[in-house]
Symmetry: C2
Subunit: 524 residues, 2 copies
Amino acid sequence: MEGRSLKMDIDDSSTSNKVSVSLTAEVLDYHDPGPNPGHTPPAPPNEVTQYSGLGPTKANEKPRVVVLGSGWAGCRLMKGIDTSLYDVVCVSPRNHMVFTPLLASTCVGTLEFRSVAEPIARIQPAISREPGSYFFLSHCAGIDTDNHVGFDGSSLVIGVICGSMMILDRNAGSVHCETVTDELRTLEPWKFKISYDKLVIALGAEASTFGIHGVKENAIFLREVHHAQEIRRKLLLNLMMSDVPGISEEEKSRLLHCVVVGGGPTGVEFSGELSDFIMRDVRQRYSHVKDYIHVTLIEANEILSSFDDRLRHYATKQLSKSGVRLVRGIVKDVDSQKLILNDGTEVPYGLLVWSTGVGPSTLVKSLDLPKSPGGRIGIDEWLRVPSVQDVFAVGDCSGYLESTGKTVLPALAQVAERQGKYLFSLLNRIGKAGGGRANSAKDMELGDPFVYRHLGSMATIGRYKALVDLRQNKESKGLSLAGFLSWLVWRSAYLTRVVSWRNRFYVAVNWATTFVFGRDISRI
Amino acid sequence: MEGRSLKMDIDDSSTSNKVSVSLTAEVLDYHDPGPNPGHTPPAPPNEVTQYSGLGPTKANEKPRVVVLGSGWAGCRLMKGIDTSLYDVVCVSPRNHMVFTPLLASTCVGTLEFRSVAEPIARIQPAISREPGSYFFLSHCAGIDTDNHVGFDGSSLVIGVICGSMMILDRNAGSVHCETVTDELRTLEPWKFKISYDKLVIALGAEASTFGIHGVKENAIFLREVHHAQEIRRKLLLNLMMSDVPGISEEEKSRLLHCVVVGGGPTGVEFSGELSDFIMRDVRQRYSHVKDYIHVTLIEANEILSSFDDRLRHYATKQLSKSGVRLVRGIVKDVDSQKLILNDGTEVPYGLLVWSTGVGPSTLVKSLDLPKSPGGRIGIDEWLRVPSVQDVFAVGDCSGYLESTGKTVLPALAQVAERQGKYLFSLLNRIGKAGGGRANSAKDMELGDPFVYRHLGSMATIGRYKALVDLRQNKESKGLSLAGFLSWLVWRSAYLTRVVSWRNRFYVAVNWATTFVFGRDISRI
């Protein structure tokens, strides 16, 4: 109790952030499992210990950058951050980054799942080696920016608790985390808090269902490796189920009807991969049912709307040639075996893949921070969240505030990666100038703001064909290519961009073995 | 109804197998989805259609060999069977064969899961190409041998049903199947029957728990790819959980205590792989927790009891050197976080792998066929089940009847593979001699009986060391090797024995990348 009241006495009332008694009390309960974990009190397993965690950094420690998320933005940032200046703590429910542009290829076995997943410990080795850097396999449950007061190293708080003199930590904002449980009922999530000097929110976005009934329950999205695994298992199950004796013609056709909703690059690439799989592998290895399998791509507007008209027509022609049925329509309702379009048409399906774009996640929606149009976390030109100190937001979860006069950038890997790259050099610059600690970069000159320059778009459409559109935007002029040459450009571009040499090698090996032996059809 | 009574009239009363009225009636309900599936009546989806299936083969069709299971015995048989003589139908809940000797290596990422899984359609391409051959992703629910009467092609049953003359099928024994449902509540299993001319039971065995409480619920076996996947996910989860702030010392040690029960080749190889993983990868990439991870191998008797004494001592020394704690003990009880030994010792664990050997599966136990000592399906020297016609049993599910005077062979891949090989040549010989049809090989001379000659045993113990024991049995003399040379022999032997060139290539590539880049730690 003395600790609490002492803490209140020295509250920095000049800051606009109010420090409440209860929050101050929480800080005293922090356990720091850092260099000498022998001092942590033994906690009974599976008990929810609300307030354990990493407390504010001490004067003899490096300032701490907490990164929420392990997508394009967060990983690019972690890759480039100077770990001699900062400790890095990453919080994410997955310990790897997914190389999303190649994810569609893994659904049918053209590539293996592990070839497109890059462990974070490989992207930033410090995270598992440095004593103050960590990766936590956890969900972020909330962000507490109120407490981000910050004292510089010279003004450490000294208090007397239970009669012995001790140095109290500086205050800092914190992140509430809950460990993943793999949806096992036997596993209770472990709750803890991490204080930050700098916070980078890179939480990404969620697939949007537009509130259409039944999508969440029956469709599979295509954003994570486990989605691709689910699609592959379901596709192989349906192929085998349709061969079982006694299955009616109608049921066979339903099981083998693959429906893709959403004609953006993901939907188109997946449709192209599926038709390749059907033309090459199903015809050979499921010859009993080969005439029953069909792919339908449903899109409300035009497919690949961001691409050049000429490329779009080319893609439409090529997809139709490969047997993909293109349907213009809006989905009204989805049940477990059929979907219903706006005009009443019923479309029975065996596999439904939903890739209609993304929207803000529940967590991002719940954050009490200013938002950009569309509900993304509002940022200024330096990717800062302006209402609070030391908080940045990058990637799909963020968008410019209207006051900046800039339009919100599309939710693309390219944007996220560029923002991660910009932010790590900004943070490195701040750190070098001595502004790494909480609240110590307030009046620092940040230099050039972030500027996004679109480098173009690529999409493969199957049958060794791809589109490459190097125009900066829909209106401007520039190079656009379609066909086999584009496909070579597509393959080589991605091969060089895959993060590690190990995965570059595996992607090349997977492509080669798929070419020689066909796709793997083990259902594991 | 006329069909039924007619059928009864022509019952072959000379056979010992009684044909009941109800069974005959069932046969009339068979749908054959063969060459012209347009004639199958449309069945509502998800409805249990008990009696659809593949009826007895017709005179213009090849005789049908039904293989239950896709392990070593079943796959070796399918690989070699002459598909110009027989149609092959395989029933198994997995569409691939697992190369079990390398399964332990996949748990820690030395090898990838797909490198040790071989699709059955690749082992026997006819199964997906020939009009009468099939693979059914289903469980076998029962075997009906009573109905196996069989008429030769000349004595087809002709009957009059509803006033029109029709040819009735020959009668044959059948197998009851249920499609897999992936434990999804939304999926109702589809039930169907398959008649056989020849039936090969290759259902394998189940991991035995010796009735010890809590084993099934808490331990992971190591027999299927999904077991290896579960082990890998759990191990990576525990490594990351143990790094979470606030976790007590005790809990950290528990999470990172890997316990292996059973000191046979699988248990020893898995322990060796684990210690390799810890020494090389954990030390580098989980340096925060590297001092907490330990491996304990519990065995009631001696480890590797089938190996030469010298090799056994070598293995014991090497394992201890790599940090594997060897404990002599019997497990009495298992709960979710600790196991209890017979002497009362409590062993807390984070990962528990159970590999104490195998016993007959529930299905094999339920079959009303004579059994060998130990509850395996009784066979004679030609691998036939003697009490019924045209039924063979191979691999772990079978054992010699006491009347043969032969001792039951151990449940080894080597035995299963050799039996599969013997049986395909026996069946090919029978087929060539015109005995392929149901009940037509009754009095045929079968030639040499099956003789098993043990070629030796191999096991790797980690750290580039292995054991190779080329003695035919425990008592006889012969070459035995231990060390790096053995390890080279071990690797090259398995590399050449992996079934397909694709997987040989992938195993080599996996080994090479593990050597260069370390093991993959993405938790996907």
